[in-house]
Amino acid sequence: MLDAFEIITTSGVVLWSRTFTPLHANLINNFISDVFIEEKGANAATRDDQLSSTNPPYKSDQHTLKYTFVKELGVIFVAVYRSLLHLSWIDKLVDNIKTLFVDLYGDQLKKPNTTIIECHGFDEYFDQQVRELEGSASKGAAAVPEGALPQEEPTLSGNLGDEPPLPPGLRYKGRALNGANSGEEPSAESTPNLSPTTSRPSTPSAAAAHLVVGKPGPGGKLSRRARKMQNAGASHGAVSSGDEAAARRTKPVKTAKKGRKWTDDGLADEQDDVQLDYSIPSQTGIAADASTAARSSAVEHVDSSTWGSTTTKGQFILKDLDDEVHDILASAKSKADANNNKSTSASGLLGSGLNTISGLFRNVVGGKTLTKEDLDKAMKGMEEHLLKKNVALEAAVRLCEGVEKELIGVKTGSFESISSRIQSAMEASLTKMLTPTNSLDLLREIDAITRPGPASLRTPRPYVVSIVGVNGVGKSTNLSKMCFFLLQNKYRVLIAAGDTFRSGAVEQLAVHVRNLKELTIREGGHVDLYQKGYGKDAAQVARDAVAHATAEGYDVVLIDTAGRRHNDQRLMSSLEKFADFAKPDKILMVGEALVGTDSVAQARNFNAAFGATRSLDGFIISKCDTVGNMVGTLVSLVHATGVPVLFVGVGQHYSDLRNFSVKWAVEKLLSSS
């Protein structure tokens, strides 16, 4: 069963919610920040108006969340359920609730500068949907409901499983045709008057369905009249002419009456139609459909005899709501179809001419509503621009997609051109991507660990940083640069030689340490090397170094590690033990700004190497001085891992380490040189 369903705005206000089991308060908060702010992993490309089924589910330890997002209104629809359960109808529920909510309260949602949406009445609609969808999924096994709903209800909800339902009136029409006279031409032709989707299932045969799609012609009126006469029921006319209230009143009773006339034949026809016409039917939907159909024909007589007496006023009201819901869903569906059709066919010559002129005018003056066509070309240009800056294809494509989705339907400001709008949107997205969730103030963090305030209960201990990376990217060099910076700020630093593998590595570090000592001795720098030679287990050495530093009162331990190729299974797997033994406060990976290295794969593998609970904390990008404005590699790295860049190396000297400035990087990336 569902645990909760919430409708939330991007401003964080819960518009409507239903909780079945109390949830931890942070579940939804984490979901929002992971999916919509940090855009983690597979959840990255979900910021548009797509179906719930195409958004990957968000999983927390116990719960699964399915969601959809309406961009122009800024509303998120999210359903929460236990991961153990398999709820086949959940996507349909999320999408239907979205359609209903937007239809019912869209006007209110569009009002600016308010968060108040009057939607108390939505409870009923939600209940109706849950009842119907849940019912459709479990009907196959369960008995026919206790007459609470009219007979045709199960079939309807079965259909709901894969397509929006038909307006009930229509369905009834179709049945009546089958039952009364399935070969009657005018009636079959009458359906084109209505939208293709709604009419399809009600046509008696596949041939007729072709007719419907292929030949939208007049004559609907006439045939409707004919049908009216034939059935001698005022209700049909009423349905078609939109007087729904009348139709609803009469319908259940009528259904019951006609129901006796149905043959298994007619019902079988229905099922065939379902299978023929729906391009993407959900398996369960059909199964439920079939079994209910069979069942309902079997119990038809029993039920219909008691039907009249159970039809109380209360059920009529229930029915009203059902009808309204189905109408809304069906009309939304047909609107979507109509839109699809419209976009493929060219609009009138005059209209398009006027559009182009006003479009051109607005291109200059601003105030133009951006469409996909407007953006496509400019976005291609932006993508090429990013690729030229060495951004990996994957990252460039995703960034551009994100910007495009963000901009479709947006109005440009006064005197703002499309390309400058794209430029500013790209700037915003790059800034967001590169900005770390918590900005790192390394010195402040070291202080907090080594000299905790009297109020906190922590005991002082050294701050541990370890540096990882592939061979030859400059791990030891960057470690020495960091050390130089710390020494300048009068910290006592212990460097641990964790590279017990490559011969000469320890000596290289020893040289660095000697240089650093000479450079900073006058300013009171204090640095030592902790080494245990070669061949020892690096994790063990690291742990001993930390213990030694704690005993001797060092402030910071910097641990060098052996360079390893990211696809070297044996060496990579030892990293997990290393992280476990040394318990570093920060694990930093050194990556090169140069092109041609498989930096993205490297970063991914390293990020995953520390086990389930630990990951990289940041990147140091070396050799940034050699690439000029082509700093795209760091975008690729951040994009692939979600790990922030903290420092950049800009030269050969100990002082050539810089704090990573997001603004600097974004300027370089967007500069035209």
């Binding site: 919430e6 939330i8 705005t9 991007t10 401003s11 964080g12 206000v13 819960v14 919610s17 939804i28 908060n29 929002i32 920040s33 919509f36 702010i37 940090e38 800024g74 600016p112 500068n113 308010t114 968060t115 108040i116 003056v365 601003g366 105030g367 006064s414 005197f415 915003a428 800034t431 967001k432 900005t435 770390p436 969730t437 918590n438 900005s439 103030d441 390394l442 010195l443 402040r444 202080d447 907090a448 905790p452 305030g453 109020a455 906190s456 910076f485 700020n489 940034c624 950049v648 800009v650 380490l657 810089r658 704090n659 990573f660 400035s661 997001v662 603004k663 600097w664 990087a665 300027e667």
Partner: protein, 297 residues
């Protein structure tokens, strides 16, 4: 007769007619443009108060409470992902009226303002500061005041204190840069800075620090952050020769002072008040904050 005379005059190429014609031709597009965009600008002309603070401080809770009035059911809230302005009407405060509230009797004049709720998430902070910058020039729709909301119950934890203080530090630095630019341009001090309210929220919880402790904790932490910021590595892109000019700009408050206090910001025309309150539960409530905002409009 008069008509033909007039027509004749219009068709004669006199300087007056030519200039008039040019004038009209030039003016029409401009007018058209303003007509097209008029409805948008009228909205942004309301005075704005910016509501900032770390995630989970209760910004959205406060904004919705102010919109709905104190008697309404508190709304549930989740993480905010986008700036969102809310139009709020408040009685013009006079010295005698003590508690302005939206549901109160509409005795005097009412004034409308926009309260802009912002996301507290670190990744979206650039957006908040951009907003502060963008609205600086236009006098009518500019940000009148900034409310920095923080969770007084969380501030006893060193990590949350550090994050809250870092945000406050960055915010004040942005305001200070703006103000000092204006001071250099010669504007009177009173018009240079924005007033800031540090609102200590959640005083209904018994773990919450009182307003005075919030002030001293934040000041102490900002002092530490200021010190470590001044010592940190140069930003990428900053050349060694630009160091001197940049450094002074990055120092918050009185230059070379040992300890940072909120009063130091007065030098830049930025007045900071610290007031405790709570959005939900029993306690001082939001009246005092509301009053503070109403006075700043």
């Amino acid at each position: 007769m008069a008509f033909t005379d007039f027509a004749e005059y219009l068709l004669t190429p006199t300087p007056a007619v030519i200039f008039g014609g040019i004038f009209i031709v030039l003016l029409v597009p401009v007018l058209l443009h303003f007509l097209l965009t008029a409805n948008v600008s009228s909205l942004t002309n309301l005075p704005t108060i910016l509501l900032v603070g770390p995630s989970g401080a209760g910004k959205t809770a406060l904004a919705t409470r102010m919109e709905r009035g104190p008697d309404a059911q508190p709304t549930e809230t989740h993480t905010t992902t986008n700036n969102h302005s809310i139009e709020i009407e408040t009685p013009v405060p006079s010295s005698s009226s003590e508690s302005p509230s939206s549901s109160g009797p509409s005795a005097g004049e009412h004034v409308k303002f926009l309260l802009t709720d912002t996301p507290g998430h670190g990744k979206l902070r650039a957006r908040v500061f951009n907003r502060l910058d963008a609205m600086g020039e236009n006098d009518k729709g500019r940000v009148r005041a900034v409310v920095f909301l923080c969770d007084a119950a969380a501030l006893s934890d060193p990590d949350s204190l550090r994050h809250a203080a870092a945000y406050l530090h960055d915010l004040l630095l942005v305001l200070q840069r703006r103000a000092s630019a204006r001071i250099r341009a010669g504007a009177p001090l009173a018009k240079c800075g924005n007033p800031v309210l540090v609102a200590a929220n959640k005083l209904d919880l018994f773990t919450a620090l009182p307003g005075t402790a919030v002030k001293s904790n934040l000041e102490a932490e900002v002092t530490r952050i200021r010190a470590s910021r001044s010592k940190r590595l140069l930003d990428s892109g900053v050349g060694a020769d630009e160091v001197g000019s940049e450094a002074q700009d990055d120092w918050l408050g009185e230059y070379a002072s040992q300890k940072f206090t909120f009063e130091q910001m007065g030098e830049f025309g930025i007045d900071i008040d610290v007031i405790g309150g709570n959005v939900t539960g029993e306690g001082p409530g939001i009246e005092k904050w509301w009053q503070w905002m109403a006075y700043r409009l």
